[in-house]
Amino acid sequence: MKIWFQIAADTVGAATDAASTNPISRLLINFHVDTERFVAQVLAILIVFVALWLFASKPILKTMDERRKKISDGLEYAEEMKQKLAEAEKRQAEIMKEAALEAKRISEDAQAKARELVDRSAAETARRNEEMVARTREALELERKQMVSEVREQVSRLVAITSSKVLQRELSAEEKTRFANASLKEIAQQ
């Protein structure tokens, strides 16, 4: 290090000597710029600069780069999410539309079924009425048949009883004897 200062001082000394007539040299002399000190300061600044570059600037830059990257990633992500949100909203809208259509279909189905039900119950009522009429007709017919059958029975009975009474009185003894003989013959032949 000392050698380098010596070299730098010698260089500056040589330059000062050569530049004593130089305006820049005259400037340096007037403003009391000590060449050796100046070089040493420049060197020191250089050293500080290098140290800062190595130990401060680089990590800071690295950190800054990372931060920049994170921010850009974050922005990208936000963009992506925005897109996805848009897609999801679109899908939701589609689903809502489908659901609405489905609800409409269900409601139409229900209405159709309700109409069918009404028609069916009207048909059922008509059928029941018809059945009731038919049943009433049947019941009347049955009653008539029953009445005819009862009357037939009563009349048959009356006719039979009357006939027996009439025959008892009207048949002569001869006829009765003839019947009795004929019946015995018939039984014997059985």
Partner: protein, 512 residues
């Protein structure tokens, strides 16, 4: 009026004037519906005997010097010394389609006030059952509409399936549900115009029941519009024992007419225990030797000859069938008593109803472990066979593991799954009275259970879920149900459509 006179004149013209030979006897004694008669030397066993006043009897005891006869009807007008005649005929009842919708007594006389029955044919009440050759195996189902029966204890046309249990366990309800479901199927089948559809006509024989119960049954059938396919033969508790004894045979004769005509009929005997008691009474009065529990020695033959008349005939003999559902009432759940064991050995299976299950709220209270159908899955539609094949086994496993249910937290996942599935099946099979399911709905619900759709539904909501699924199937899934009904089997296509429908329902289902 002129037609009446003509009728009588014709009657007189056609009168048989030939001498008639009769075989007569005189009543020696009469009591408790049984008459001892002197004479009647030409009478045959089971021949119809005519008493004064148009009362009919049947010769049951042909002893030396006297004949023992049961008297059907009111015996209060008969007395010692009255003349009785043989008729030369077996006791017969009117049969035919004209009996559908009517209520008749044990002799076939109408008691519903709807006028006389104009029957063209009469069948004898005692008839020899079809032999071996005319029969055919049972393979057509009788849909009872009760899910547990149709899945696990299927009944076929031509089968005899006994319904046995204590009083008030739901025996009659099962029979009535079956009749109502068959009427619904008949209506649908006839409306569809399918030429291959075979309606199933029903005959309900009420033996020894209270008149109020019979009236309630009739009203229930009328409300369900099932009376038009049903004949009711009523021999209530107030009837004399002879009527209660003969009523099931009269019903069987009416059923045999359908079978002989190539049609299908179902006959319910409710119940045969009371018929056995009535027969015991008659036999004791006829001084026949008493056997076990004072029943006569031929009480087995009483039921065997009745139940053997239910059969399925082959095509050469018309292809008709008569399915019998005899009902027996046990005392304190004792199925090893005399009459129950007799009838169990005669029938092709039994449905055993337990009071404990009934009281626990499991209705129908069918004890699956003790119930069986010897015809089995031959009498099930392919669709139901496919979905319900494993259910009986699952329930058996559940019953075996049920004892461990109290240690719910200590069970391995497989056992727990079996318990959960079993308890869900039990819950699923609960069904209110008079609400039969159609076959296709049964298939849909059981399929959903077997494919785990009920697994995440809490136990107390299974019933609600079942009804919700039924509504959904009958509404949005009606096309799937129609396919099942038409094809009667679960093809891959139908199964896929059913899965889609059930998944749709599941998406809308929420537990409470």
């Amino acid at each position: 009026m002129s037609s009446i006179i003509e009728t009588i004149e014709n009657e007189i013209r056609n009168l048989e004037t030939a001498v008639r030979k009769e075989n007569i006897g005189h009543i020696l004694s009469i009591a408790d519906g049984v008459a001892r008669i002197d004479g009647l030397s030409d009478v045959m066993y089971n021949e119809m005997i005519e008493f004064p006043g148009g009362i009919i009897g049947q010769a049951l005891n042909l002893n030396e010097g006297e004949v023992g006869s049961v008297v059907f009807g009111d015996i209060s007008s008969l007395k010692e010394g009255d003349e009785v005649k043989t008729t030369g005929r077996l006791f017969s009842v009117p049969v035919g389609m004209c009996l559908l919708g009517r209520v008749v007594d044990a002799l076939g006389n109408p008691i519903d006030g709807k006028g006389p029955i104009e029957a063209k044919e009469f069948y004898p009440v005692e008839k020899i059952a079809p032999g071996i050759i005319p029969r055919r195996s049972v393979n057509q189902p009788v849909q009872t509409g009760i899910m547990s029966i149709d899945s696990m204890i299927p009944i076929g046309r031509g089968q005899r399936e006994l319904i046995i249990g204590d009083r008030a366990t739901g025996k009659t309800t099962i029979a009535i549900d079956t009749i109502i479901n068959q009427a619904r199927i008949n209506d649908e089948g006839i409306a569809s115009g399918d030429p291959e559809f075979r309606p199933l006509y029903s005959i309900y024989v009420a033996v020894g029941q209270k008149n109020a119960n019979v009236a309630r049954t009739i009203r229930t059938l009328e409300q369900a519009d099932a009376m038009k396919y049903t004949i009711i033969v009523s021999a209530p508790a107030a009837d004399n024992p002879a009527n209660q004894y003969i009523a099931p045979f009269s019903g069987a004769a009416m059923g045999e007419w359908f079978m002989a005509e190539g049609k299908d009929a179902l006959i319910v005997y409710d119940d045969l225990s009371k018929q056995a008691v009535a027969y015991r009474q008659i036999s004791l009065i006829l001084k026949r030797p008493a056997g076990r529990e004072a029943f006569p020695g031929d009480v087995f033959y009483l039921h065997s000859r009745l139940l053997e008349r239910a059969a399925r005939l082959n095509q050469e003999n018309g292809g008709g069938s008569l399915t019998a559902l005899p009902i027996i009432e046990t005392q304190a759940g004792d199925i090893s008593a005399y009459i129950p064991t007799n009838v169990i050995s005669i029938t092709d299976g039994q449905i055993f109803l337990e009071t404990d299950l009934f009281n626990q709220g499991i209705r129908p209270a069918i004890a699956v472990g003790l119930s069986v159908s010897r015809v089995g899955s031959s009498a099930q539609t392919k669709a139901l066979k496919k979905v319900a094949g494993q259910i009986k086994l699952q329930l058996a496993q559940f019953r075996e593991l049920a004892a461990f249910a109290q240690f719910g937290s200590d069970l391995d996942p497989k056992t727990k799954a079996q318990l959960d599935r079993g308890s869900r099946i039990v819950e699923l099979f609960k069904q209110p009275a008079l609400k039969p399911f159609s076959m296709e709905v049964e298939v849909g619900i059981v399929w959903a259970m077997q494919n785990d759709f009920f697994d995440d539904i809490p136990l107390d909501q299974i019933t609600r879920a079942k009804l919700s699924l039924q509504d959904h199937l009958q509404g949005r899934g009606s096309s799937v149900l129609d396919s099942i009904k038409k094809k009667k089997e679960l093809t891959d296509e139908i199964a896929a459509a059913l899965r889609k429908t059930v998944e749709e329902w599941k998406q809308t289902w929420t537990n409470d």
